[in-house]
C-alpha cells in the first residue's frame, strides 16, 4: 500500500529502531530540498531516540505552503518495556499542498492478537492510501463506502502480510483469523475546506480552538479494555466518521491519540486540559516547541500513567 516518491510521508512505530529512524531523517531531508524557502519555520523535523533507544518524534511538513502542519510522536509503553513486549501502536503523518493526513492505531496486544503490531502499522498505511484516493468524495461523510473500503483494504493487506511472512493459512473452509492482527484506527484528513475524521475502536480525537476543546467523534460505549476493531466481521459498521467544515477561519488544532494517553490522566478533565495546553503552547511559542518536547511528554505520560504505548498525531490549521 505504500506509495513511493512521497518524501513527506512516513509511518513510524516505536518498535522499529534504526532503520525507521534513518528513513524518517532521509525523508525529511528530501522534502526540505524540495522547498527550502521556509523549512526551518515549518519543519521541526527529525527523528530522535528516547532513553530506551526507541525512535519516535517525526514531523511531516513536506509542503510548507499547506495551511496544515502535522507533527507526531510515538513511545513504547512503560509496561511493555518492563515485559519485553514490542510497541503495538503505529503513527502515520503526511502533509501535501492541498491536504494533510494523520493516522494512529493501537494493536490490541493480547495473547489472541500476536501480530497486532503489524496490524496497526498496516492500518495507518491503508488509511492513508484510502483517504487520499477518496478525498474528492469525502464531503458526504455518511457514505458507507469509505469505512467499507478501509476494512476491505486492511484485510487484503493482512492476508498479504500473513502469506508473505510464511504463516500458516487457515484450514480450508475456515475464515481468515484477522484477530491475530487486531487493531484500532483513528485517521483524519485535513483538506482546504474541511477536516474528515474516522475512528474504529478506542482512542481520542480532540479539536481545540479559541472556543475551547471538544471531542471530534462520539465515544464508543465500551467497558474497560473492550474495543471495537478492524479485525471484526463487518468492521465497517463500527467505524465512526465526522466532517467539520472550515467555516470559521481561525486557527485550530486536532490531536489524535491512542488510549494510552488519555488513560494516563487521573480523569477526563486532565486529558481535556492537555488539549488546551497543547493549543496554547502552539499559539504562544509555535509548533516547534511541541515537536521538540512531544516525545519526552509522551514518555513521561506513559511512565507516570497508563504504562501503555502512546501514539499521537497533531495537526494545526492556520
Amino acid at each position: 500500500m505504500t506509495k513511493s516518491g512521497r518524501p513527506a510521508k512516513r509511518a513510524v512505530d516505536a518498535g522499529d529502531k534504526s532503520n525507521e529512524a534513518t528513513h524518517a531523517l532521509e525523508a525529511v531531508a528530501t522534502s526540505a530540498s524540495e522547498d527550502k524557502s521556509n523549512e526551518a519555520a515549518h519543519s521541526p523535523e527529525g527523528s530522535v531516540r528516547d532513553a530506551h533507544g526507541i525512535a519516535g518524534k517525526v514531523s511531516a511538513s513536506g509542503n510548507t505552503k499547506s495551511a496544515w502542519q502535522a507533527i507526531g510522536s510515538i513511545v513504547i509503553g512503560a509496561t511493555h518495556l518492563r515485559n519485553n513486549k514490542p510497541c503495538q501502536d503505529a503513527l502515520f503523518l503526511r502533509t501535501e499542498k492541498d491536504f494533510a493526513i494523520a493516522c494512529v492505531a493501537d494493536g490490541h496486544g493480547s495473547s489472541s492478537c500476536p501480530y497486532s503490531d503489524e496490524g496497526a502499522k498496516a492500518a495507518v498505511r491503508v488509511a492513508d492510501a484510502v483517504l487520499e484516493e477518496m478525498l474528492p468524495n469525502l464531503h458526504d461523510h455518511k457514505d458507507i463506502l469509505l469505512p467499507k473500503t478501509i476494512e476491505i483494504a486492511w484485510k487484503d493487506e493482512i492476508r498479504r502480510l500473513h502469506a508473505e511472512a510464511g504463516r500458516e493459512p487457515p484450514p480450508d473452509g475456515r475464515a481468515f483469523p484477522y484477530i491475530l492482527y487486531g487493531t484500532t484506527l483513528l485517521a483524519a484528513v485535513a483538506a482546504r475546506d474541511f477536516i474528515f475524521a474516522l475512528q474504529i475502536g478506542d482512542g481520542n480525537m480532540l479539536m481545540v480552538d479559541k472556543r475551547g476543546v471538544r471531542p471530534v467523534l462520539a465515544v464508543a460505549e465500551n467497558v474497560g479494555e473492550d474495543t471495537e476493531s478492524l479485525c471484526l466481521d463487518d468492521a465497517w459498521r463500527f467505524v465512526r466518521t465526522q466532517i467539520i467544515p472550515r467555516s470559521v477561519r481561525s486557527p485550530a488544532m486536532f490531536l489524535l491519540t491512542t488510549d494510552g494517553y488519555s488513560n494516563s490522566f487521573a480523569d477526563s478533565a486532565g486529558f481535556f486540559k492537555a488539549g488546551t495546553d497543547f493549543f496554547n503552547i502552539w499559539r504562544e511559542d509555535g509548533l516547534d516547541v511541541i515537536a521538540e518536547n512531544l516525545q519526552d511528554w509522551l514518555r513521561k505520560s506513559s511512565d507516570k500513567g497508563s504504562g501503555d504505548d502512546i501514539a499521537m498525531g497533531v495537526m494545526t490549521w492556520q
Binding site: G77, S110, N263, S268, K273
Partner: protein, 227 residues
C-alpha cells in the same frame, strides 16, 4: 531543547480492583477457615511485589464475608500496600447471593471508562447457597464491570455445588476444587497472581479471557483428599 511542563492535568496509574468473597458459614469452621485466613495473608507480600513491579497499575483490595447475610470484611477499597488481613471466623448459613449483591452494588459505582482494568473476583466456599444465589448473580452480571470481571471460584471440599460456581465464573476452568489445605493455599495464591494478566486488551472476550489457565496448580493423584 526548550523544555516545558507536562501538558494536561494530574496523572495516575490504572486501577485494578481485587475482591475476596469468602464463605464464613458454620461448615467452614476449623481447619478450612484457618487455612483460608493463612493463605490470604500469605498472598499479601506477593501482591505488594507485583504492585511494586508494575507502577502503572494500582491494586485496590476489598473483602466480603458471607454467612447469615453478607457484609464487608474490608469495608473500603484499600491499596495493597496498606492492606492487612483480619482473620475471619465461621458460623451461620451460606448467603452467597447476598454477597454477590453487595459486590454488584460496589461495581455499579465504577465508571465505564478505559482507565479501569477488569476487576478480579475470587469466591471461596465450601457449600451450597442458602439464599437466592441466582438473584445475586444476575445483579452482578447486569453491571458492566461484573460481566467484564475475571471471576474465579475456589471450591473447598467435596460438598460444594460446582454447577453454581460454574455459573459464577462463566468458565468451568476457573472453578478450582481444593480437596485439602495444601491445594487451597496453592489456589488462593494462584488467584492472587492473576493481577499480572489483567492488563492486556481483549476484543469481545470477557475479562477471564486474559487468564492463562495452564498456570493453574494441578492436583496430583497422590494428593490426600481430606475435605
Amino acid at each position: 531543547m526548550n523544555e516545558r511542563n507536562l501538558p494536561g492535568g494530574e496523572m495516575s496509574s490504572r486501577i485494578l480492583d481485587f475482591f475476596w468473597i469468602a464463605d464464613c458459614s458454620g461448615s467452614m469452621n476449623g481447619e478450612k477457615i484457618q487455612t483460608l485466613n493463612y493463605a490470604i495473608r500469605q498472598t499479601i507480600p506477593d501482591m505488594r511485589k507485583e504492585a511494586d513491579a508494575n507502577p502503572n497499575a494500582s491494586i485496590m483490595v476489598r473483602a466480603v464475608k458471607f454467612s447469615d447475610g453478607a457484609a464487608w470484611h474490608a469495608p473500603t477499597a484499600t491499596a495493597i500496600e496498606d492492606f492487612n488481613w483480619t482473620d475471619l471466623t465461621a458460623g451461620g448459613v451460606t448467603s452467597m447471593g447476598a454477597a454477590l449483591e453487595l459486590v454488584a452494588g460496589e461495581l455499579k459505582q465504577f465508571p465505564t471508562d478505559t482507565k479501569r482494568l477488569p476487576p478480579v473476583l475470587v469466591l471461596l466456599t465450601d457449600g451450597q447457597p442458602t439464599d437466592d444465589f441466582r438473584k445475586g448473580l444476575d445483579e452482578l452480571l447486569a453491571t458492566p464491570w461484573g460481566k467484564k470481571a475475571v471471576r474465579i471460584a475456589i471450591a473447598i471440599g467435596k460438598d460444594v455445588d460446582l454447577a453454581v460456581l460454574e455459573q459464577f465464573s462463566g468458565n468451568a476452568e476457573l472453578v478450582l476444587e481444593a480437596k485439602n489445605p495444601q491445594l487451597l493455599v496453592k489456589f488462593i495464591k494462584w488467584a492472587s497472581t492473576v493481577v499480572k494478566n489483567v492488563s492486556a486488551p481483549s476484543v469481545g472476550d470477557s475479562g477471564s479471557g486474559v487468564i492463562d489457565v495452564n498456570t493453574i496448580p494441578v492436583a496430583l493423584d497422590d494428593d490426600d483428599e481430606i475435605w
